[in-house]
Symmetry: C2
Subunit: 228 residues, 2 copies
Amino acid sequence: MPVTAFSVLAETTEEADAEREAPRRKEHIRNAAVADILAAAEAVFARAGFAGATMAEIADGAGVPKANLHYYFRTKASLYQAVLDNTLTLWLSETDGITMDADPATALGDYIRAKMRLTATHPDASRVFANEMLHGAPQIGDYLRNELKALVDEKSKAIEHWAKQGKIDPIDPRHLFFTIWAATQTYADFQPQVCAVLGKSKISRAELDRATDQLVTLVLKGCGVKIA
Amino acid sequence: MPVTAFSVLAETTEEADAEREAPRRKEHIRNAAVADILAAAEAVFARAGFAGATMAEIADGAGVPKANLHYYFRTKASLYQAVLDNTLTLWLSETDGITMDADPATALGDYIRAKMRLTATHPDASRVFANEMLHGAPQIGDYLRNELKALVDEKSKAIEHWAKQGKIDPIDPRHLFFTIWAATQTYADFQPQVCAVLGKSKISRAELDRATDQLVTLVLKGCGVKIA
DNA sequence: GTCTATACCTGGATAGAC
DNA sequence: GTCTATCCAGGTATAGAC
């Protein structure tokens, strides 16, 4: 699970000076330790939340001394913000297929499948996001009100267009998104409950495929989508 | 939002002695402060999680000095457990209507509406539960594997019976429950996201009614339930 | 039973050697 | 650039007066 974006690194003006006027884009990952730190931080923040996570635990997970965390990321809050930024870029993706002239069954089905895949491959990212949400979204409130709202507004127009053409029931697209997001992310966020009810110690690939197929069917049929 | 069950009170053997052999059931709420403490604790644990919550904040919310919390509940963990116990009793309710000989449309529709009402009236309970889940359910794992699993197993048999009678599509009832739980609780747990996308500062009663109606329609139609 | 004052400890952050 | 040792704030829990 490699991490690729480091938007909130601690500023190192000395190094910037040393590079003179060299283009910013020339900057690259200075040390693999940074990636390890972000990966370890995601796991710890996912399980313990911001308050419950300790820098010592993250340092252990990354295999570096505690002080190095404060060298790369000045504060615990900065490190948390960097982890959040990574998860948000993940969340915005996958909606490309939902357009006015797309086939609803294909577009919605593919979107749900993609969301479920994301939940399976990045469960910790889902949990970090959920934690932030539960605590009132102090860090990402602006993101939700701007980028996310704009994206949903645009996609909602496409779905309303489908409805005008009789390709889907006249539903509220926003609440449909809430339902899809919740139903997919629950397999990461509420994993202990899912495992307990199913009587299993982990959610198997086959089980998740069954869940995905059922959810796709439920949504398409429930919205009156004509299967092309 | 009165709190009614106090299963994990700190033990006061002195008082028990004073009561001699008096029946346990004769015990009653010794002080309204205890109810205030539990109510305040639920709110604080919901917003901050277990680690993020502080005893000082809870004491402030309840209007009592910090030390009194440790008098009624020996530790922070005991207080948290007491809050959790209250929420779990809430969660188990509302499934009474789902029986083999019930009408699927009525039973499922009523259940979804009841769950959504619960989300609206007890959002903090939902958030405390979600927090515990996200952190791996260390306190309530046993409850999930026993009481909850037994309940879902029983209700699943009823739904499978409906399917044999052709009253509903042959779906997996467990995943249907996961979807319903997630789709309803998201309006409490992910409230900041819902508000941001809708462009509102709070979720109005009317908005939640729309969401409820749409979800009931989605589920009933999506499962091929015949409307009686 | 109730509250004030305090002891003790965890954990974030930093100074300074290498 | 990297790490060891340390400082200090904040928070749980308790002792002891009333």
